[in-house]
């Protein structure tokens, strides 16, 4: 271990330290001054974390005895995660104020959840991934139930906790099975475990898959892999593990819902992407393909049909997040093919970034239109919004069009990228089912647009005071359009080059 190791792991460390500092300053100062200062401090640490990630550059480096690996993909995701945390903290000042919730703990939890997500994103060893996912999840359970005075929020937290704990056990079981199967296979075939690597290291697993004949189809490994994939899909809110997602998003205050929906997806899909890159080109039989296709299509159908008949806009976004999880899984599916892998990774990364921006923005609008910190949740509350608050209506309209994938928004390019990767991987009929799902989703989003612009209402003008959420929503909407028209200029310059470089392959181990 040296400075390089610390630097590589620096982004989550800074977030975690930030969490502690924010918590302690909150204790030390009088309650009323901490609002601005705590926010400022938390954002400072987020920026420091982003800078730390950025200075790592795009090349691959491993640290902590190959426990973690950082390369372009991880850097991008870490920056994104820190940005999401910062934006969430900015957007939540209103609800903290209105409901007199403990502020220091809130900011600390956001930062720590983000740190956990970063650990997950950068880990190369599944044990580290598990620790990361637990840090993130435990913070999520608390955040979902943060507004204890409200029954819905408490219910969301409890549900999330019970399901999440159960899934964590399955994840751990899956990792244990993989550990066992890799160890057995390597021992039986006389392969040496390289110094510093463990049997749960993705590189070791890759070695076993590519060098031990028949390992990819051994039942022990497949069962472990399917449990691992399934539980990570739960964390990302993919059907059929989605039951809890709409409840949680509806129960939690809007900024937290946006945070949960995006951070969990970014983290879980990134580690899945890593896991899938080592499966690419390996003979794993049909099992994993079938599971992944099934999950993706189920999510797209369930998410879009579920969204079509909602009365609550937060539930609508909950189902929409399920559907979009499905599209991302389709991209992951394409990354299982060796030829379409590079395109698939770029497409999925871009999709995740775009989805995060759109979702954060949508939930920010919900908070922006709320009154006294209470979210504007009922879709009927949006009736005639175009006449009362044109800016908010246009902003939300942009997000809805982007979510339905209409050209000139970023949602179109993401869908285009995923479908291009998918079709070049040969998944024609999968793409057709996904397109049908999109059409159903389109109806769901159009219903809201129609309520906002096409239906007259007698509702009075709502005077909103939540300036922070407004700022977040409007800047996200601008990004959605700019990225939809000029994606190459809007992203980090190194984005495409670094992301398309394959992350880690079995060849690393000689």
């Amino acid at each position: 271990m040296n400075f390089g190791d610390i630097h590589a792991a620096g982004a989550p460390i800074l977030m975690a330290v930030g969490g502690c500092v924010v918590l302690l300053t909150d204790l030390a100062s009088k309650r009323s001054d901490t609002r601005k200062f705590g926010t400022f401090l938390a954002i400072l640490f987020c920026i420091a974390s982003m800078l730390c990630s950025y200075t790592l550059g795009g090349q691959l480096r491993t640290a902590f005895s190959n426990g973690i690996a950082v390369e372009g993909l991880v850097v991008t995701m870490q920056i994104l995660l820190a940005a999401i945390a910062a934006v969430t903290i900015v957007a939540s000042s209103e609800i903290l104020q209105s409901f007199h919730l403990p502020k220091g703990e809130y900011r600390a939890l956001i930062l720590l959840a983000s740190a956990g997500a970063m650990v997950l994103v950068q880990s190369l060893d599944l044990v580290n991934a598990f620790v990361g996912i637990e840090i993130m999840s435990v913070a999520f359970y608390v955040l979902a139930g943060y507004r204890r005075a409200q029954a819905a929020s408490e219910e969301a937290g409890a549900k999330y906790f019970l399901m999440g704990a159960f899934v964590s056990a399955i994840l751990l079981f899956g990792i244990a099975l993989i550990y066992g199967s890799v160890g057995l296979a390597m021992k039986a075939n006389g392969l040496e475990l390289p110094q510093g690597y463990s049997f749960t290291n993705i590189v070791t697993i890759s070695k076993a898959i590519h060098q031990v004949p028949g390992f990819g189809t051994s039942p022990l490994f497949l069962l472990g892999a399917v449990m691992l994939i399934g539980s990570l899909m739960f964390k990302a809110g993919v059907a059929p593990f989605h039951m809890v997602a709409p409840d949680v998003y509806q129960g939690a205050p809007a900024p937290i819902a946006g945070f949960l929906a995006t951070t969990s997806k970014v983290a879980a899909f990134t580690i899945l992407m890593r896991f899938f890159t080592i499966l690419a080109g390996a003979d794993t039989g049909a099992a994993i393909n079938v599971v992944v296709i099934g999950l993706a299509l189920l999510s797209i159908i369930v998410g879009n049909t579920g969204a079509a008949n909602q009365k609550s806009i937060k539930r609508l976004f909950g189902y929409s997040s399920v559907a979009h999880g499905g599209y991302i899984v389709l991209g992951l599916l394409a990354s299982l093919g060796t030829e379409s892998q590079a395109a698939a990774i770029t497409a999925v990364t871009f999709y995740i970034v775009a989805y995060a921006i759109t979702t954060i923005g949508s939930f920010a609008v919900v908070a922006w239109l709320g009154k006294d910190g209470e979210d504007a949740d009922a879709i009927s509350a949006y009736r005639g919004l175009g006449k009362r608050n044109l800016g908010a209506a246009i902003t939300l309209g942009i997000f809805l069009l982007s979510l339905s994938g209409i050209p000139l928004t970023v949602g179109f390019l993401t869908k285009l990228g995923v479908f291009m990767a998918l079709l070049s991987a040969g998944g024609t009929w999968v793409a057709v089912v996904a397109l049908i799902g999109s059409a159903i989703g389109l109806y769901a989003y159009l219903r809201v647009i129609s309520e906002m612009f096409f239906v007259d209402s007698t509702q009075q003008e709502t005077s909103s005071t939540d300036g922070a959420s407004k700022l977040v929503a409007v800047s996200a909407a601008t990004l959605v359009i700019v990225m939809g028209v000029f994606p190459s200029q809007a992203l980090l310059p190194s984005f495409e080059a670094s992301v398309t470089a394959p992350p880690v392959s079995g060849d690393e181990v000689k």
């Binding site: 271990m1 792991a9 975690a16 969490g19 502690c20 918590l23 309650r31 009323s32 902590f64 005895s65 190959n66 426990g67 973690i68 007199h100 919730l101 403990p102 703990e105 600390a108 939890l109 720590l112 959840a113 740190a115 956990g116 650990v119 060893d125 044990v127 580290n128 598990f130 620790v131 990361g132 637990e134 840090i135 435990v138 913070a139 359970y141 608390v142 139930g145 943060y146 204890r148 005075a149 937290g157 066992g180 199967s181 057995l184 296979a185 039986a188 110094q195 510093g196 690597y197 463990s198 290291n201 051994s218 039942p219 022990l220 069962l223």
Partner: protein, 187 residues
């Protein structure tokens, strides 16, 4: 795993503790009386400790008994007694679609696991092969040397575990703390 291997001392020990762990685990779920369920959990934790012991992991077994079976379960029982739930039956009925789904998925999962274990027969290790070996194996010293060695991958995870505990503590404080009164910081 051949029958012969199972009938060795090690094998019998494994068999005993494994059956005990599964049976007591099932009882935790099935029993209606909370007190009995909690006591079954104690047996379950003890059985797992026994499994650790059979793998030479003395320290882990001891910690399991002291911390889980001892401290945490005592707290559990305490709460049950305090709330006077000892006599109350949990309101669970084993009827309806949910129960059928639950049981069939449990059986399905158990079947899947057994199928995997049986199909992968030549691969599956004897308990004896999985034993931790070496002079300080299974002791506090041995675990410490593995956990804190910067050349092994566990240090990173170990350090982050402390943050996991921190998050849990913050969460517990937030969720269990006094509900703030609206008038408190109106300023």
């Amino acid at each position: 795993m051949t029958l012969q291997a199972l009938l060795s001392g090690q094998g019998l020990m494994f068999l005993f503790f494994a059956v005990a762990a599964i049976a007591s685990g099932l009882l935790v779920v099935i029993l209606q009386n909370p007190l009995r369920a909690a006591l079954s959990l104690v047996i379950n934790l003890f059985s797992v400790a026994g499994l650790y012991l059979s793998l030479n992991a003395y320290f882990l077994a001891t910690v399991q008994v002291i911390v889980y079976a001892g401290a945490i379960m005592v707290l559990f029982l305490f709460v049950i007694m305090l709330l006077n739930m000892g006599q109350a039956n949990l309101n669970t009925s084993y009827r309806g679609v949910r129960t059928i789904i639950a049981f069939s998925s449990a059986i399905g999962f158990g079947g899947l696991m057994s199928a995997v274990a049986l199909k992968g027969q030549p691969d599956v290790m004897l308990p004896a092969d999985a034993m931790v070996t070496g002079s300080s194996a299974g002791s506090v010293e041995g675990i410490g040397k593995v956990l804190y060695n910067p050349n092994l991958p566990w240090l990173f995870a170990f350090e982050w575990t402390s943050f996991l505990l921190l998050v849990a503590v913050i969460g517990a404080v937030v969720l269990a703390g006094k509900r703030q009164q609206p008038s408190e910081d109106k300023a």
